[in-house]
Each structure stands twice: as C-alpha cells, then as structure tokens.
C-alpha cells in the first residue's frame, strides 16, 4: 500500500473558491482510474489568495499546490500521482525546493494559535491528539496540577485577551476563581462580528478541539461546570464542526464526568448560535443573549466574574485566547512569552484583506511592524498602487496612515495611533479608497448595530452619519468637522459599553490623519480618491468614443446624446452621476474627474 496522501483544504473560503468541486473531481478520478492514495480534508491553510489548495504528501516530501480548480486537479493527479512527477509550476510551497513565490508569506510567521490549522483533519479527534492535542489536559490530570498553578502559568505567559480588549487573561481567570459559588460558567465568545475579520471562523473550522481543550482547562481552573460557545449563526460550518468535536470529546472522556481524567471535575460544553447582533460581542450583552433576552449590555461593575450568566460567576474569553491556552500549559509560560514585545506577549492572528496581494490569515509575533506585515507577508499592494492606510480593529478601531507604517503591532503601540488592536482584522487601503467614505461606512454599521440603550450612542451616531452623508454628497459646510469631533467626544463619554465608547474612532482617526480629504470634500466639493459619486463629473473622451450607443441607451436620465458612430456627449445638467456609463463603456471612453 502506497502511503501517498492528497489533502484538500475545505475551509469556508476554500469552499467559496470551489474546493468542494476540486475534492469531488479528485474523488471521482481516484475511483475511475483506481489511483492509489489516501484522500483527506483539512481546513484553512491561511493562503486564501491561492485557494483552492491541495497538498500532496508522498515518500519524497510535501507539495502544496495552489489555485487548483478541476482542470488543474486532473493535470496534477495525472502527472504527480500517475507518473510520479510533481508539477512544479503549480507548487506554492514545498519542503524540498524553493518555489520562488509565496515564501515570504510563510516566512516570519509563528504559528501557535493556528498550529494545527491546515495540517490536520478538523473532523478527526485522533489527528488532533496525534499533534500533541489534549496533552495539556493529560498533564494536568497526571500531575494533579492545582488550580492556582494553572492560573499563575497563564498569568506568567503574559497572554492578553485576543478579542480586542487586551485584558490579561490570567487576571480575568483569577477574578472568577476567587468568587465562591456552587455554579460557575465559562463562555467562549465566537460572535466574530467585525466586518473584515475571519480569524475566529478559521480557527473554529480548522481546529475546534484546541478551543474545547482551552475551555476545559479554563473551566477547571476557575471551577466551572458548564461551558458555552456563543457562535455566529452565519458560520454554519464552524457550528457543525464544533458540535462534532464536542460529541467526540464526550466519547473520549475529555468532557463529562471526571473530564479529561481529572477526578471530581464534571464539565460539559454546549454551542449557542447567535442571531445576528454585533453588540453581542460585548460580554454583558452576550450573556443577555444566551439567557434568551434582547442583547443589551448592562452597567459594569458588577463584572461577569462576579455576576454573569444566570447571575453566577462567569469567565468570558475569545476563541483565539482559548486556542492558545493548551499550548501555554503544555509547553510552559516561558515558551509562549519568548515571542512578542515587552507588554504584549505571544503571537496574534490577523486577517489580511483589502487591496493587498496576499490576502489571507497570518499569525505573527507581537511587535512586528505593519510595514513588514503588508509588504513582506502581504506581498504589497494590488496593481502596484500606492499604499494609503490600513484599518485595524473594525468599527471600533481606526485607520493608520502610510507614514505610520513602522508602528509595531502590539496593544500599546496600536492604541497610541488612535486605532485599536481589535480582534485582528487588517484591511489594507490604497489611493483609490476615500477615507471619508470609509468613516461613513463604519458609522453606518455602528449606527445600525447600536442597541439603542444609551441616548448618545443611539442618536449621536445617527447625527454623525447624517453629517458624513452630507459631506460625501457634496453638501458639507464649514464647521462640520468640528461638530463631528464634538459629537465623538460626547458619544465616547456617555455610552455604557464598548460599542458606543469606540464607535467614533473610525471618524476621529480619519479626521486626524486625513483632514485634508474632509476639507477637499467640504470646500472644493471634490473627492480626491474619486469614490463619492455626487462629487464626480463624467465626460466622454472624443478620442476613444466609438459611438456604440451602449451608454446612451442605458442612461437612466437620458443625459447622453449622440448618433451611431458619432462621439457622444454627457449633459452635465441632466447627469445624475450614477456611474452607469463608466461601468458599461467597453472602450474606457468615459472619464471621471
């Protein structure tokens, strides 16, 4: 029996890129041509820009193929499996030779949270165990590690909350541990709501057992008997794999009575699906939602460590935080804390997206510079355009301009720019992105997602959005910027939860770093990035126009006139600036200015 393995990456983004079809094709060929190899699946490898990805491991080594659609799959199977000759042109990574591409994406990454992602079959508990999975739990059971010692280890590792808050995890555990109660709960916040962030989804899909193990350890440390994973309903694959992992863990005794072999420790985990409310990422709102109420935050203190779910002491951490815990316990705090900067230890996973060549999931040591992440790992800006800014922290974060690209990614350095580390979304923007439009985009989001409890958040964000809409419509007036700043301060000061307290950040950072763009919109009625349509003028280049009449026929206001094979003209009075002619023209004859 040949022990060649063919592994297809079946994470959500791989599937979206067509990995299921690739998998089926390979399966079909395997049967039809009676090929001798083992067909397996794994999850997100992180190189989203090369999906679908297929790895072939044979006696010589490993070959990771990129962009494997059905045709390429046929070709690869034919040559690599059939004739034993790897198709080097399609290989993006191999342990045998330098592929000359994508190496920079993988070099510089340190995988702790993502240690199994893309390597193991997430639906197999045996593969997790083979990769030192549940070893931390075994260690605790065998050595009868006292609870305080586990908490101390986590504290010493220096790990801070990966959901964005950055509160030391060990401290949080100690608070929950210190409250005595018959019943305690441990919750995993998997309500990843930031638009532009998909770290937690990839982790849950790629290595669900790591999250479970982290929760069991946390549950034991604080003295909880029940764990709850609050997961976005928009992540069906993650929910499915979590439920499967829970069933497997129960069968093997990692959950249930004497969980993980720890005598007298009864612990179980359930998955609760969220119902689509960004505010439920806030811990008190999340608790309300688990209890079946409207997800509205409440005043803290009392903190959940004292009065949490069903008014019992409760500890809440994010997915990535829990995924790090088994590593810390198994390898020791110092092994974790040797990565990172002085006050931010370990690694952080980022979802790199937007106008960057290599979009995907990267895990880097804290303290790497933004410059290195975007230009080394990320391979620079699409089309060689100019890098303008990077948005970090989603709707609670801000835009960091290109001249601050040497900012190091750790909690304190990023906070100093006015953005926040957040959960790890990094959306790269180039010269064609309008910063006022970006601010409006986030305000629109937070305005819709405000739960409505605090007046300043509910009404203030609405007023700010109205001003931004006016500015992008070419109706801005002097004093608008100052009013935005004033409203921002009021909202920050007078909101109960993180949503309101941070909602003005995207506006404040763009005003701080791109004030000239706001002024161009307001004073000159111009959008320098050519994004805000009402501020643009559409004209037709007589040199390029062929008189095909496509634009004239489709113009909704009848602003374009011209005979067949004659140059067309746009009547500026009638033009509604919908941009339809620009999108339709096949000859690039419509000029936007």
């Amino acid at each position: 029996m040949n022990d060649t393995k063919v592994i297809v990456g079946l994470g959500s983004c791989g599937i979206a890129a067509g990995a299921n079809k690739t998998y089926q094709k390979i399966q079909e060929l395997k049967g039809a041509e009676n090929l001798d190899f083992e067909l397996k699946q794994t999850s997100c490898v992180g190189m989203c820009y090369r999906e679908p990805l297929v790895e072939i491991i044979d006696s010589s080594g490993s070959y990771l193929y990129g962009d494997v659609d059905e045709d390429r799959a046929v070709d690869i199977l034919d040559k690599h499996i059939g004739s034993g000759e790897p198709v080097k042109d399609y290989v993006v990574k191999s342990d045998l030779f330098d592929t000359g591409k994508d190496q920079e994406f993988l070099e510089g990454q340190v995988k702790i949270a993502l240690r199994h992602c893309g390597h193991i079959d997430p639906e197999s508990i045996d593969e997790y165990i083979a990769g030192e999975g549940y070893a931390a739990l075994h260690k605790i059971a065998k050595e009868k590690t006292p609870r305080e010692q586990i908490i101390n280890e986590v504290l010493e590792s220096g790990i801070r909350g990966r959901g964005g808050g950055g509160f030391p995890t060990g401290k949080k555990w100690r608070f929950a541990y210190n409250y005595t109660s018959e019943e305690k709960y441990i919750i995993c916040n998997a309500d990843e709501g930031d638009p532009g962030a998909f770290m937690d989804r990839s982790l849950l899909e790629g290595d669900p057992h790591a999250v479970l193990e982290g929760m069991v350890i946390g549950g034991y440390a604080i003295g909880a008997s029940q764990g709850v994973i609050y997961c976005r309903a928009e992540y069906p694959l993650a929910v499915k794999r979590l439920n499967l992992a829970i069933t497997q863990a129960r069968e093997r005794g990692y959950l249930g009575e004497n969980a993980g072999g720890i005598q007298g420790f009864d612990f179980d985990i359930i998955v609760k699906e969220g119902a689509g409310a960004f505010v439920c990422g806030e811990e008190t709102a999340l608790i309300a939602s688990v209890e079946g109420k409207r997800g509205m935050p409440r005043k803290r203190p009392p903190f959940p460590a004292e009065l949490g779910l069903w008014n019992k002491p409760t500890n809440i951490n994010n997915v990535e935080t829990y995924a790090n815990v088994p590593y810390i316990i198994h390898k020791g705090a110092s092994e974790f804390s040797r990565y990172g900067s002085e006050k931010s230890k370990g690694t952080k996973v980022f979802a790199l997206a937007g106008k960057v060549n290599h979009s995907g999931l990267v895990e880097v040591p804290m303290g790497m510079s933004i410059q290195d992440i975007i230009f080394e790992l990320g391979g620079g800006i699409i089309g060689g355009k100019e890098f303008k800014a990077v948005q970090m922290g989603g709707p609670s974060g801000g835009c960091i301009p290109n001249y601050l690209a040497d900012t190091l990614v750790d909690y304190d350095s990023v906070n100093a720019t006015g953005a926040i580390m957040g959960s790890g979304g990094m959306v790269v923007m180039d010269e064609t992105t309008c910063m006022v439009d970006v601010a409006k985009f986030f305000l629109n989001f937070t305005q819709e997602e405000s739960c409505g409890k605090c007046t300043f958040c509910r009404m203030g964000t609405k007023r700010m959005l109205e001003i931004l809409e006016r500015i992008t419509n070419g109706e801005g007036k002097e004093g608008d910027i100052e009013e935005l700043e004033d409203l921002s301060v009021q909202i920050k000061d007078n909101s109960l939860c993180g949503l309101g307290q941070t909602a003005p950040n995207p506006v404040l950072t763009t005003i701080k770093y791109f004030r000239d763009e706001y002024e161009a919109h307001i004073r000159d009625r111009k959008c320098p990035a050519k994004v805000c349509k009402p501020l643009l003028t559409y004209t037709i280049d007589p040199e390029k126009c062929t008189g095909c009449m496509v634009c004239a026929r489709k113009c909704p206001t009848g602003a374009i006139t011209g005979e067949k094979k004659q140059v067309h003209v746009i009547d500026q009075e009638l033009c509604s600036k919908c941009g339809d002619c620009f999108n339709r023209c096949n000859f690039d004859a419509v000029i936007v200015s």
């Binding site: 709501g193 998909f198 309903a233 997206a353 509910r458």
Partner: protein
C-alpha cells in the same frame, strides 16, 4: 438595534402565505425547548428554519404552549437581524458589505442587482424567486466582493458577473416550474 422598521407585508400576500401554513411542524421544536432555560432564541431560530419566516401565528402558538410572553418573543425577534417577519423569496441573495467587500466595490454589486431585479435592498421580487439582502460580513474577505445564495458563495464579483448569476438561477427556476 436595527431600528429599521420591519415593513409589514401586503395583506394579500400574508393571507396567501398563511393559508397553507402548517404550524404542526413546530410541535417537536416546542417539545424540545419547552422547559429549557434561555430557550427563546433557539425556538425562534427553529421556527424560522421550518417556516422560512416567523408568522404571527407562530408567535401565538409558541407563546400559548410555552407560557412565554408574546411581547418577549416579539421583542427578541425584532432585536436580532436574523429574524424575518414576512415571507421571503425562494433564493435569498446575501450581498456582503464587510469592510473588504466595501473597498472592493460591494455598493456596485447591490446597485447592479437592484437594477436587474427591480427591487430595493431588503425586498422580494414579485415572482418570489429572489430576496435581496445586504449582510455585514460573510468572512470570505479574500474573495471580495462576495455574495451568497443558498449554500453557494460567489466571489470576485463584477456587476456583470453578479447579474449573470441571477439570470442563470431565474432560467433554472422557470425551467423546473414548467
């Protein structure tokens, strides 16, 4: 939360839709969650999964059989973005408007679909084949701009590509009907 007022469906459409409503599909669901703590959201999710949306009758039935207040159920249902109170089209088009999709032109995609389907964002086509929706983030940022129809995700969209997908589905639907 989403202070958008959920538009009340046309009376006629409601009557038509509720005529063939079979509420008995809710029985096992209610049985399962009746006595459980924190059961409101799973009950509503289950009802929507079985009926496609949550009709008034479902609220009444759940309330009657579980003892939960109707006002509580309705309050929760209108708070979360997931719940729908009116019938939807056979295919729900979810156009992603996450940050990555936004900077890569998601606005244009919604625009093109609105044009082609002759509905506004959030509405259902007259033939009830499509409902057009904007969603916050589908988490496929590297394929931006993206839309999802049923289980299928379509990435790296352009205006034309998006419209073509819709047209193909419509042709398929019409063929299977005739």
């Amino acid at each position: 939360m989403r202070i958008q007022r959920i538009p009340l469906p046309e009376q006629e459409a409601v009557e038509q839709a509720t005529e063939d409503l079979d509420l008995s599909v809710l029985d096992p669901l209610i049985e399962k969650y009746k006595e459980k703590k924190g059961n409101v959201i799973p009950l509503l999710q289950g009802a929507q999964q079985r009926l496609g949306y949550i009709p008034r009758e479902a609220f009444e039935k759940i309330s009657r059989e579980t003892g939960l207040e109707k006002s509580h159920l309705f309050g929760v249902a209108t708070f979360y973005a997931q719940f729908r109170l009116s019938p939807v089209g056979k295919n729900i088009i979810k156009v992603c408007h996450g940050t990555a999709c936004h900077v890569q032109g998601a606005e244009d995609i919604t625009d093109a679909l609105e044009d082609s389907l002759k509905v506004k964002d959030g509405e259902t086509t007259e033939d009830r084949i499509f409902t057009l929706e904007s969603v916050a983030c589908l988490g496929c940022c590297s394929l931006a701009p993206v839309m999802m129809i049923g289980e299928e995700t379509y990435g790296k969209l352009t205006r034309n590509k998006a419209v073509k997908v819709i047209k193909n589905i419509r042709i398929r639907e019409k063929q299977s009907n005739s």
